[in-house]
Symmetry: C2
Subunit: 339 residues, 2 copies
Amino acid sequence: MAVTMHDVANLAGVSIKTVSNVINNYQYLKPETKRRVQDAIDALGYRPNLSARGLRSGRTGVISLIIPDLRNAYFAELADEVMRAADAKGLSVIIEQSSGDRERELNLLTGPRTSMVDGILYSVLGLEEDDAHLLDRIETPMVLLGERIFHGPTDHVTMRNSESTKAATSYLLGQGRTRVVAFGAHRGEVIGSAGLRLAGYREALAEAGVPYDEALISEVGGWYRLEGAQAMQKLLASGVTFDGVVAFSDVIALGAMRVMQEAGIRIPEDVAVIGFDDIDETRYTLPTLSTIDPGRAEIARVAVDYLQERIAQGARAIPPREYFADFHIVERESSAVLA
Amino acid sequence: MAVTMHDVANLAGVSIKTVSNVINNYQYLKPETKRRVQDAIDALGYRPNLSARGLRSGRTGVISLIIPDLRNAYFAELADEVMRAADAKGLSVIIEQSSGDRERELNLLTGPRTSMVDGILYSVLGLEEDDAHLLDRIETPMVLLGERIFHGPTDHVTMRNSESTKAATSYLLGQGRTRVVAFGAHRGEVIGSAGLRLAGYREALAEAGVPYDEALISEVGGWYRLEGAQAMQKLLASGVTFDGVVAFSDVIALGAMRVMQEAGIRIPEDVAVIGFDDIDETRYTLPTLSTIDPGRAEIARVAVDYLQERIAQGARAIPPREYFADFHIVERESSAVLA
DNA sequence: AACGAAGATTACAACGTTGAAGAGCATCTC
DNA sequence: GAGATGCTCTTCAACGTTGTAATCTTCGTT
């Protein structure tokens, strides 16, 4: 049915292996031969069968990106960056959604689909540090993203959670804000992005000599807008006063802003808000949302690089590496300095 | 290295083909045999090699979804729905971004990656109706999404652009709004979502006996928030008056709302706004954005169904079908009826 | 007890590609 | 001018699976 190397070889009058050599840019090839083969390829519209190549060579040229959920803008933009980085290296990306569910995250790692994939970019929400050993037995090259697992058996590419949140908090305190809410804590979490960011928040307070007030720690159930809105409702209902919000994600910050505005709170006059993630949307909200750019593009690029090295050299050939991307505070209206 | 059917067959004391039969649920199998093979599979942690299967059977279990851009919430949510629908059928999804660029859209169709894929869900922005014939020669089963190509050589699953925009326009007119802007037109476009939606807008005007005013047609360059904001700035600068906006996407509506609010226009008091797409975000903006739910989940489900049928029966075995999903107007604050 | 049909399993080849190894030929070295 | 070297191309086998068709088993029927 479809055109194979055989057909190309026949038309070009060479062996099938020479066709293969042309396609793979083998170094010893007469330009003349190369041209003839290429002409035959073009004439027949030949395209290599990637299943056959995958079977023979053990490489498919596909990596999978496991993320919680594409509806979350952070992950959609991460996926976008990963696909661009992969594309630049000739890799295709299969995206798998885990919903941040621990069971599902684990199943995706051992499901039949992994045999189709050269490597995995693994961004988990459900797994915990204690689960790191579960990754030991995975033979597929893997690079970890996100903040749930540090010191795993393989590379980890992530952001400076504590440092950046500390910087954001210091930034609001430096404006003269005195009661700054940590918005998006997860009860009892130490590691994980919420835990790390909370730690950064506390460091900033300590450094500024501002006492830590439990009442200003607002728990948010998840990373959705609705959850941000609900948490802010609860916070307002509690009667606590505050003049700044360091939100642990842009999305929950937007949910919270919505509720504050409805309650007649002016941003930034009454309350300054800074988010986290620098999703596209923050440029166009009212007011525009100050945020932390966690270096997503850099994360994607480095993660794909690392993964490719691991694919080339063997999953365990390289000792685990850690990479922390640079962050930047992006100042917008929601934390504008008052005149 | 990896466990193969051979190893499983040895351990279970059966032929390799029996293992294959167990995996593929062949009907004539002694329960006892089935169990023994399954035990061996579990004991060895065997996972089928999908490249080999793909090579032998011609099916890879992977479909590709070609979309303009995951940063656009509409496409991210569409991708999410497609992946859920595919997952329910045991299919994996490779996402390819085209940036809505015509060249790239065409290249993705013939690139080497397509040989890895059983079928293509093809959502184009750059191609035009005139390009439909370019699809004739594509042998890969394909289902078209979006509004650029109708009457192509294969199935087309889409939304009711005209009807829904007409309904949205009528809805605003029914509230007593008299100068309703069509926001998001593309110059000279007849087909394509912008063209179709504009047609629906005009139908609604005609039906209500409201004269068509060229000044109320606002062109928006693309589908990004920034472009919506810029177009609204231009519209306001033109000095034209209006009391309603039918935006052809939620994202540009949000960009426009931002600019209107900055200009002191109250929504919905001064101007009622309704968007298009029902992206998640519209539930949490201030004010929440009325919109049209175009039936995205239904589109994804039907598209995957159609594609699977085509994969099973052959790309050309089924005459082209057209499917239009149901739409709903979602009333939120931005078009609330004034007290 | 012999036969046929249906149930259960297997042998074999093939899918399209690439790695390993080697053959043919021209050029260089002394 | 014999041997070594380097370039160019080819032969062959193998990757792990499944479709085809054949074989072996079992069981019911006569």
